[in-house]
């Protein structure tokens, strides 16, 4: 089974990743309820912008490329995997890190717990994982562009970096707007 073959089934499978990425944090924290669907639009917006922007750039560029939106959308969906993993793990880590203050008063005990090796390792990954996931997303997006539109890796990375920052920024403000509407 070719996961990247240009079929509707593969498109739906790849779309599941940004949707799951949006759902997973509130799901872990608060369980299954209707409210968690509000998280999804942010990641769908990022998914959309990451598909549309490069597709239009390449189609209207000096050396025109054919529109390959469906195939590119399938690739971009899978690029969300590092962010999905990061959202799962950081949420679990946050719960674990907060347990460090469970049933404690004494500063000395708090200090002892904070210097515990396992706590330090958890803390490192809590802070580092979103960074690693974000950079991985940029690199995977660049590789997707290279694969689908057959451009050089250097060009694809140069487009992927600002495109990702722009998409995340726009999605953040649209998410706030959705919140205000409700």
């Amino acid at each position: 089974m070719d996961l990247f073959e240009e079929t509707n089934r593969n498109l739906i499978i790849s779309l599941l990743f940004p949707i799951l990425t949006g759902l997973i944090s509130p799901l872990i924290t608060y369980g299954l309820n209707l409210g968690i669907i509000f998280q999804i639009p942010q990641y769908i917006i990022i998914w959309n912008l990451c598909i549309i922007i490069p597709s239009f750039i390449f189609h209207y560029a000096k050396i025109r490329k054919e529109f390959k939106i469906k195939r590119f959308a399938i690739y971009i969906g899978y690029c969300f995997i590092p962010i999905l993993i990061s959202n799962i793990v950081t949420q679990i880590l946050q719960i674990g890190l907060t347990n460090n203050l469970n049933d404690v008063i004494d500063i000395n005990i708090i200090r002892q717990r904070a210097f515990n090796v396992i706590f330090q390792i958890q803390l490192f990954f809590y802070i580092a994982l979103p960074v690693i996931a974000f950079i991985s997303f940029i690199i995977l997006t660049a590789f997707s562009m290279k694969k689908v539109y057959e451009i050089s890796l250097v060009k694809s990375i140069l487009i992927a970096i600002p495109m990702t920052f722009f998409s995340v920024g726009i999605s953040y403000y649209i998410r706030s707007l959705i919140g205000l509407l409700f």
């Binding site: 509130p26 209707l34 008063i105 979103p130 950079i135 250097v154 970096i161």
Partner: protein
């Protein structure tokens, strides 16, 4: 071929540079240790010099922003910034004026710009620039973990939080006269947004929208003045409402939340002309809560809006009916409370941060979370959105962390 390799190498270098810079910025944002400063001295002017020298870059940056704003702000009846500053200075305690002079001289920022910075929140009220806020404050008085004592917690929410949270610092004061204090504030402020002293008292502030605002003492300075000079809730309440220092005339409309280690807690609702106190002892609950609207029926008519904004009521309800209903409320519960995105309007958590939540990313996002363990003289502080960052334990002698 060599030229291609060099070009590829340059672009890969750019990628590495962007990645590493972004990573360092992101990680450094959550490392608050460099932003904790200790301020002491034989005089308040010396304290100001010490303060300013430690945050010179941040304050200078704020000073530049103030210069741009000065050109665009609609000033009051054609008043200059110096005249406006004089309006606040007339009601400011002398120790604070001395400190502001010290900060001005050590940072190179004009003294009147420092005064305006310190009065910024009250001035914004006077200019009707900001109406709806998202701060939540609570105290768990009874039913805390055995031996923990009362806990005060708050989130501070403000528009343009993405800018302001970079200007926040933690200050530990050891003044020549008065109590030692820990406070969260904006660099260049001599006052606090949230704070506690070494006599087991904590104070926080929430903004109310009211037309009853005038020149007076800026609220941050009032908080520090209260914590520095008084040792319990009752005395601070008297100070806020009777003006035991003759120059304490309140500039803006605020709710001061005071908690002490004996479990005495109150909310003092204040405008420039009116005030009312709500004592925890008058309610039969384990906790006390305030968001951004007047609670007392006597004070509600003095609010700018006809009634409380819905989001403030939802947040109050979330705290009183869900988050604070816990047995043996401990520090973990306090951290989870200030991190909560719980929104009762949709019967659960959207995973988002809207104004109905305690911790939110909306138009008035959460800038910091402050938890005061008043009976044990330490605090838990997160200097950015607490949902995304760890907490540090800050006592009067040490900084530990992250701890959660």
């Amino acid at each position: 071929m060599n030229k291609k390799k060099i070009t590829s190498g340059i672009f890969i270098g750019i990628l590495l540079l962007v990645s590493i810079s972004s990573s360092i910025w992101y990680i450094d944002k959550y490392n608050v240790k460099p932003r904790i400063i200790d301020v002491y001295g034989d005089s308040y002017y010396e304290m100001g010099l010490m303060y300013g020298s430690q945050v010179k870059n941040i304050v200078s940056g704020i000073g530049e922003v103030a210069n741009y704003l000065e050109k665009g702000l609609p000033l009051l009846n054609g008043s200059t910034l110096e005249e406006i500053a004089q309006g606040y200075l007339a009601y400011t305690p002398n120790w604070a004026i001395q400190m502001m002079w010290g900060i001005a001289n050590s940072t190179g920022v004009d003294f009147y710009d420092i005064v305006i910075l310190n009065a910024f929140a009250d001035l914004a009220q006077l200019l009707m620039l900001m109406v709806y806020m998202g701060c939540s404050q609570f105290a768990m008085i009874n039913n805390t973990y055995h031996g923990l004592g009362p806990i005060f917690g708050r989130t501070l929410d403000y528009p343009a939080h993405n800018i302001f949270d970079n200007w926040q610092i933690i200050v530990r004061y050891d003044p020549p006269n008065g109590n030692s204090m820990i406070g969260v504030t904006i660099a260049g402020w001599v006052g606090f947004l949230s704070g506690m002293n070494n006599k087991g008292v904590s104070m926080g502030i929430s903004q109310i929208s009211s037309e009853e605002v005038e020149y007076g003492c800026p609220m941050g300075i009032i908080i520090t003045d209260g914590l520095m000079n008084y040792n319990n809730t009752r005395d601070i309440q008297q100070y806020l409402t009777n003006g035991s220092i003759s120059s304490i005339y309140h500039a803006g409309a605020w709710c001061y939340f005071i908690t002490d280690k004996t479990g005495d807690a109150c909310i003092v609702e204040i405008t420039s002309y009116n005030n009312h106190t709500n004592w925890h002892s008058d309610v039969s609950t384990d906790h006390l809560v305030i968001t951004n609207h007047f609670v007392s029926s006597e004070m509600i008519p003095h609010s700018f809006v006809p009634g409380p904004q819905e989001s403030t009521l939802y947040r109050k309800q979330v705290l009183e009916e869900y988050l604070l209903i816990k047995d043996n409320f401990d520090l973990k519960d306090a951290v989870e409370t200030v991190r909560s995105h719980y929104d009762i309007t949709i019967n659960g958590d959207p995973g988002q941060g809207y104004e109905n939540c305690i911790c939110n990313d909306g138009s008035s996002g959460t800038m910091h979370a402050f938890i005061a363990v008043v009976a044990h003289n330490y605090s838990l502080i997160c200097l950015t959105n607490p949902y995304r960052a760890p907490f540090y334990l800050v006592s009067f002698t040490e900084v530990i962390g992250p701890v959660a």
